[in-house]
Subunit: 512 residues, 2 copies
């Protein structure tokens, strides 16, 4: 019944080919979500969790370990300090945080077009963090090196969908622990021009990060936030001196901290999701309060990292329903508190970039985006519960991040999108491929995956019958081969290298 192809319609194929050639990926420095976050808990339910957090803070309190400097600060603010135990009268932390912590802040990038907004209806994707191992299909799993670190900085730099260079994208274990922060910060500055994170493994390393950022950004940082760094609690209900010293350094310098209770539910917190949320909120409130006492107005993010547990082995598990429930709930609690929120990512316990890895990553990433997370660490590359970063996994996750960039734009309801002109020019039963409306819209109509194979079975077999990981293996290699160094002022580069050399000479070699 289909009408014979008309002259107008025969222009379709040529038209599409012309459009295709001109295709360039549209990129934003960060996502701006057009739809409201998905709320799965009522306001009354959220208030119950807030009340539980206040009870924890008032009745049980937190331990401040190996950082007596913080105790007078808390006491002066009205906390009850007995030895290293600090209890907070109900509402005290919340009132301190809401009084001065910004709801949104700008993290400046070395290249201004890459500066990001953190908070509000924005989402920033940052790579994997903290893995001592790397994985790729050619060599399997092995210890990470500074060369791997730089490779991932390059891949993030080239990605249209990652907004941030991250921090310890992997642990360069071939460099002494005492010195590797210098090489990592330098690599973020040298091999990319997106925002990055500073070191948190000692107060002095945070100070080195700040000093290097001062060189890179040309002077004082008091009016500019150029680093967002990861400060983890020692759950349950402990803050230790290493993290507090780093947080103090960053806050004093107007740099942002992500205050994150890192919780394996059942071990570092109760096994119930509501209990995990109450504890996360309590611990995070203490860390955020600390930053505001150090410097009122210092940018700070409420972080939540919560995994469930395998009953068989006690191992952390990812992509399961309970962490998704925690994520949605904590995101709502952060909104009520009025601070940016960090959680989620592309998490998995799988050792390979296989179906398990993808199901679990998607089951983390979609709640991350729907829940309205503002800063997403581990958005690409994570494998094996964070013990490894995978090259193929990085490329596959990156494609999913691209899809999120399209999704959050929401449904276009313009006259063009409603397409009445297409219906009016097309008879029932006739395909739309050749209509003017399709020709005008086809180029931008659909997200183009760079890792999916949508060919016919026969064509796929002819092209080698590769699975997604095998295709991704080719992609990361071709991308690294095409990498180009972003411009960096020679004088700044020399000053950075000089700083790194001087500090390395001062510091002892330590590997643990």
């Amino acid at each position: 019944m289909t009408e014979p192809t008309t002259a107008r319609r025969s222009g379709g194929r040529a038209g599409r080919q012309a459009l295709r050639a001109s295709h360039a990926v549209e990129r934003a420095a960060y996502l701006t979500r057009s739809m409201k976050p998905y709320e799965i808990v009522s306001d009354e339910g959220l208030a119950l969790i807030e009340e539980a957090a206040e009870i924890i803070l008032a009745d049980i309190g937190v331990e401040i370990r190996d950082y007596d400097e913080a105790l007078p600060l808390f006491a002066a603010a009205g906390a009850d300090v007995v030895g290293t135990r600090v209890r907070f009268p109900r509402g005290l932390c919340r009132s301190i945080v809401t009084a001065t912590a910004p709801a949104i802040y700008t993290q400046h990038a070395r290249n201004p077009i890459n500066s990001v907004q953190i908070g509000g209806n924005h989402t920033v994707f940052a790579p994997n963090y903290g893995s001592p191992f790397v994985h790729d299909l050619d060599h399997g799993r092995r210890y990470a090196t500074i060369a791997d670190f730089q490779n991932f900085v390059k891949l993030a730099h080239m990605s249209p969908w990652l907004h941030h260079s991250g921090g310890t994208v992997c642990e360069p274990v071939d460099v002494p622990v005492s010195k590797r922060h210098l090489d990592m910060v330098y690599s973020h500055i040298k091999y990319g021009d997106k925002p990055f994170m500073g070191s948190v493994t000692a107060g002095s390393r945070a100070q080195d990060s700040v000093d290097m950022a001062r060189i890179a950004f040309g002077g004082d940082l008091q009016d500019r936030t150029v680093m967002t760094s990861l400060i983890n609690a020692s759950s349950p209900l402990v803050w230790d001196g290493t993290m507090l010293a780093a947080a103090q350094c960053y806050a004093e310098n107007n740099q942002a901290c992500i205050i994150t209770p890192f919780i394996l539910a059942g071990a570092m917190a109760p096994s119930t999701s509501a209990g995990v949320c109450a504890q996360t909120l309590a611990e995070a409130l203490v860390g955020m309060t600390f930053t505001q006492l150090v410097r009122p107005g210092a940018p700070v993010i409420l972080g939540s990292f919560a995994s469930s547990m395998s009953m068989q082995t006690g191992a952390p598990t990812f992509g399961t329903p309970e962490p998704a429930l925690v994520l949605y709930t904590m995101a709502a609690l952060a909104r009520r508190l009025g601070v940016p929120f960090r959680s989620g990512g592309s998490l998995t316990a799988s050792k390979l970039p296989d179906a398990q890895a993808a199901y679990e990553s998607a089951a983390t990433l979609l709640p991350t985006v729907n829940g309205g997370v503002n800063f997403v660490l581990h958005a690409a590359g994570w494998l094996e519960g964070g013990l490894a970063i995978g090259y193929e996994k990085f490329v596959l996750d990156n494609d999913q991040l691209g899809m999120m960039a399209t999704f959050v734009k929401g449904l276009d309801l313009s006259e063009n999108a409603l397409a009445m002109s297409a219906f009016r020019e097309n008879e029932p039963g006739q395909h739309f491929l050749g209509t003017n409306h399709t020709l005008m819209n086809f180029e931008t109509a659909f997200y183009r995956s760079d890792t999916a194979d949508n060919a016919s079975y026969e064509q796929w077999i002819e092209e080698g019958g590769l699975d997604a990981a095998q295709r991704a293996n080719k992609l990361w290699k071709s991308r690294l081969a095409e990498y180009e160094l972003p411009p960096l002022d020679d004088a700044i580069d020399a000053e950075l290298l000089d700083f790194v050399a001087r500090r390395k000479a001062e510091l002892p070699d330590e590997f643990a």
Copy 2:
């Protein structure tokens, strides 16, 4: 700083082991979502799409092909019929559907504990539908047989997470087209006891399905809906005689139809998501109207199947952002119309149960659940754009469905879940594994995946270093080996076999 393990705590491991031994999977006949669906389009936006659908129905109308019987019915209801073109005054279809189509209905199963509620805040998962090929790791891709069909009926029967036996779970191409509906309906009744779907490939085959259901359920079906069957439009804007004849048969017999425009955006509809939604709503309104004109009050589901398109090949693509936007929007439109909604599933274009398959399936399934879909066809097994059903994919998807069953229960905010007793019995810095609260909750605290490997890298290597698909390969084989035939009255079985034999003798052998 951690306290030495106390006597009370040392009971933890033994306690967990005892609980573990008693573990049984909790199963519901269908899901009941505790949270509201995720709404991504405003009421004003949804009204714009409804208006566009009404314009399509009034100005362009639909073609009714090879089914002149339907034309007087539409004309008598107030439609403008010119030849085979039927135009509907604005609001006519909507008023007919809203007047009599039920918002929710019960589909009865042969085993009453498996009867499902379709509509409202309920979700029913049904397997893959319509694939001519099967795939497994041992034999790759090959044509499906009735033995495969029965295997998938058995696997769905055994699954705690699939609520429905489905319909054409695969095409048994070793049985003549003219007769295979008899073997398929018989297999659903014989090898499982969950609800199932009838044949739609001819009016006479729908009648055979009704006759067999009468035997299975013991008598007249006028007061009981025991089949929900899939009626697809011939998009754009065409309804054909085959589907309408089947729909008429089912509606006359008070059996449910899923009225589904099946759309590859850009080909069978405009390439814009809002246009796809407007057309889907228009086409579905016509099909639903037809069922209500045949029999007011006959159960009917608004269906939407929309995929995006590869610009490189014109092939359908899945798990991309545009179909997710369409899904969320159509779900909201169905709620406004007051009818149950079908969409989504575990869709993918991948030829293998690899990372692509899992990302795309999850990126379809999560919107399916968050969007509040009531009936989910293709919830397990789908590969290769529907051309194949995979044994391993079936097992892997099934696990994800289990996770959804936990997720939709939402956040427990009971006193036990808020866990204040756990915080009161536990010192800061001390793990919660041995607390009474954890012991009381650990057994049911976390969803237990049956396909994920959460072991350490070393243990995983020791156990063979298998990927998810390889583990799933073992699982479907062990499940089929453990399968037990559900009870079926001997007299009913004999009558069904007699019916099948008689109809096979009457029908010619046709293979296309």
